[in-house]
Symmetry: C2
Subunit: 100 residues, 2 copies
DNA sequence: CTCACGTTTCGACGTTTATCTAAACATCAA
DNA sequence: TTGATGTTTAGATAAACGTCGAAACGTGAG
């Protein structure tokens, strides 16, 4: 849990997770969204990987990063529960328009 | 937001917040729950204070710490919204004795 | 095989963190 | 005022962090 919060404590890393929400992306493509060196980005990726928030997969020359939503969800769920809050997974049903 | 997550990234500080959930508590009483020096605890309190997660109030010799739930809630709410999750505020305890 | 490309690793540097002991500060009681 | 109690500050140290440029690694194209 500490490693997850630690990972979330950096804005760059939070933005990486946000970008990954839209789908898997290569290290280079991710890095293009930031103005730090590739070395620095690689280090951020490592933190996210060690926290279990992303997984990487090699595809030819590239390394593709995938978001691991469950890990993020589990950590936040466990924590928010301590405070009596309820964290609900993504509601995938905003199509309901029947509320008379 | 970064300061909040940073504060949450330490187990000692998370436990302090958890203890404070039950009600305000003095620095000394809080420190008694941990096996680090008072100076170290004071430093942890400062981190929580700077993140806005707690506020302190002087009462005679003691310093009483209060949990600032709204700050924690706001940060987590904002973040979880990015991931399409819904974080519901604490269920109001049914401590209502009289509802005539 | 050789080369360029995408990515990570290696040192290095300055900053921040967690921790301690010792000292200082603040307040109450005798 | 003196002393005891509760808390914070000061100063020190070792580890971790964010960052960089340069070098190394792995892979596909020619």
């Amino acid at each position: 849990m500490s490693t997850v919060f630690k990972a979330l404590s950096d804005p760059t890393r939070r933005k990486v997770l946000e970008l990954l929400r839209k789908g898997p992306m290569s290290a280079g493509d991710l890095a293009d969204h930031f103005s730090v060196s590739k070395a620095t980005m690689s280090s951020h990726f490592a933190v996210l990987r060690e926290a279990g928030l992303v997984v990487s997969e090699k595809d030819g020359k590239q390394v593709i990063y995938h978001l691991r939503l469950t890990v993020l969800e589990d950590a936040l769920f466990e924590f928010t529960r301590l405070f009596g809050w309820s964290l609900a997974p993504a509601e995938e049903k905003p199509t309901e328009k029947e509320t008379p």
